[in-house]
Amino acid sequence: MKTFHIGGVHPAENKLSAGSPIREAALPKQAVFSMFQHIGAPAKPVVQKGDVVKVGTLLAEAGGFVSAPVYSSVSGKVNKIDAVIDASGTRRMAVIVDVEGDDWEESIDRSKDLVRLSDRPDLDSKTIVEKIKNAGIVGLGGATFPCHVKLTPPPGSKAECVIINAVECEPYLTADHRLMLEHADEILVGVDLIMKAVNVTKGYIGIENNKPDAIKLMTEKASQYPNIEVVPLKVKYPQGGEKQLIDAVIGRQVPAPPAIPISVGAVVQNVGTAYAIYEAVMKNKPLIDRIITVTGKSVKNPSNLLARLGTPFQQLIDECGGLPEDTGKIIGGGPMMGKALLSLDVPMTKGSSGLLIMNEKEARRSEPQPCIRCAKCVSACPMGLEPFLLSKASAMEEWEMAEKNDVVSCIECGSCQFTCPSKRPLLDMIRVGKTTVMGIIRSRTAPKS
């Protein structure tokens, strides 16, 4: 069975919510829409205090090419535009809407009928990309990179295939798994749309082998689409990393930055993104909700919720049986790459793939011990880096050494820290090094441009 070739680890899967069908979460009383729900320039608010908005009304327009607009997921009145603490832990601008009723924009088609690409011959690649751009779709795997940017290959590069990331390699998370089981047809149309958007004739859907039901269903449904192939993959973390997935599915290696996946002819999109693209293009529905896994060993009902963006995390936890008493840490995202939350008043954003509640015992990190030079981190690193060295270089502020050893290639997957028998905070330090070195590189190139 296929998988990527360098490094990787296999953490306990803990897919507690895999059997729980997607439920719709209740509407929040107040929804908070951060202007920083994507990578790139922040969105610019176009509404004002007191404005009445519907579900699907534009709240903020994109702040640049690498940016995405934000739509209201609720109907009601704009309470204020203010800085609030978001999932990143920083205080940033957001539009706050008081919810009244559930009134949708008329342009949105809320019917459940499946619309295939063959039913809409008017769609050409430009229109599709434009619609995706206007719908505010970003990579829903968690990286939140604006989707239309990836679908606009830079001059000189040509896409050869589309790879759909349905790997869901993060432990605990099951949002993509459930989505495939319940919306396979829509996803396949979405894949078709992405393929049309970048003018390629080959599409792959990579699914890890721990989801045999999804592989079976998707293969069955994909038989109607001769150009789409479902690729079962061996379970290994971080297979959902863009570069790892390309290696696993088509066996090509993306060189070090500034090379990007398109340099080897691949366009990678998350399966959730494919579904959102289907809804945006065929149903005119902007990105206003997503599926989020609320899970944890002490959670009463680990569930997959279809929740409106801007819903506070507290409410999502309440819907799954409330916050357990032995809670030690709450993580936005999965256990490997997610970020611990400061408070539960934080709203969910486009990138919220999961909400993981860890008990006191699991949450506690062990006391770091000295490095024993076992090089386990080196064999675990999926990018072929030397995490112990990069971490040391960052701690000693040897930025040149960090740069020489490709610290910017680090995908921050945390495999090194996971595998370290001395429980050293490797990634903590590498992240500092990566941020600093990227700043240095930027400042070096800035005066020229």
């Binding site: 603490i85 990143s88 832990g89 205080r91 506690r364 990190r365 701690a395 905070p425 330090m429 500092v432």
Partner: protein, 300 residues
Amino acid sequence: MNVILIAVIVLGVIGLVSALVLYIISNKFAVHEDPRIAQVSEVLPQANCGGCGYPGCSGFAAACVKAADAGSLEGKLCPVGGQPVMEQVAGILGMAAVASAPKVAVVRCNGTCENRPRNAEFDGAVSCRVKNMTGMGDTGCAYGCLGCGDCVSKCQFGALSMDPETGLPVVDEEKCTACGACAKACPRGIIEIRLKGPKGRRVVVLCNNKDKGAIANKACKASCIGCGKCVKTCEKFEAITLENNLAYIDAEKCKMCRKCEEACPKGAIHAFNFPPRKPKAEETAPQSTPNQNVEPAKAE
């Protein structure tokens, strides 16, 4: 016999030729360093801290000699050696020393465990830089001291230490050389290298919070809320400016009247090294509890 003789002659000739070549080359490629650089270098403290802005003491010595040739030593200061060393340097170079006021590191945060409650627990690597990447850190203040002691580990002179009670770094004024390594190490830019002031007296806003008043107030009992009362009391001297909801006292304009300290409703302004106020002042100003706040400052 013959064999020995030949060996001695051959080796002797090789030795002579080599010596000649070395002599010529060493003369031809000799680097003529200004002897004053070595002299200046000798009087410098050799801490190689980089506080002067040059790479190490020899770099600074070279810069001083160059500056002296250009005519003035202005702007050249060894923060470790201070005025006495600069006078020695000036003496060697035959220049007049440019007077410079001594400076000291000031930690502009008073977010003690009591003033600023911790609302989370940070479990990662013990490093301010890492902690700063979590966003707010473990308190409600996104601008205050993170308390992991990056500044302490950067201080070469043992002038900084963490106070376990307050969770804040404490500056030992005697040892601090104002080299600025701590200020550079602080990811939130809390530490300021500031004029030490006459007899070490100075008035400082001990806060770095640029949030709006309500948010800053909620985060910390001792935060500057940007109310501007201090600015009004200082209208005459215009030493205090308010920018981004944060007051700043210009040390050069400050006349040390301490009126702003009294005016601050949150006790964010601190006066260092002043004698205790006379009891009379306490009667007129009942909220002179800030006097007690001076105590930790004295400890520094």
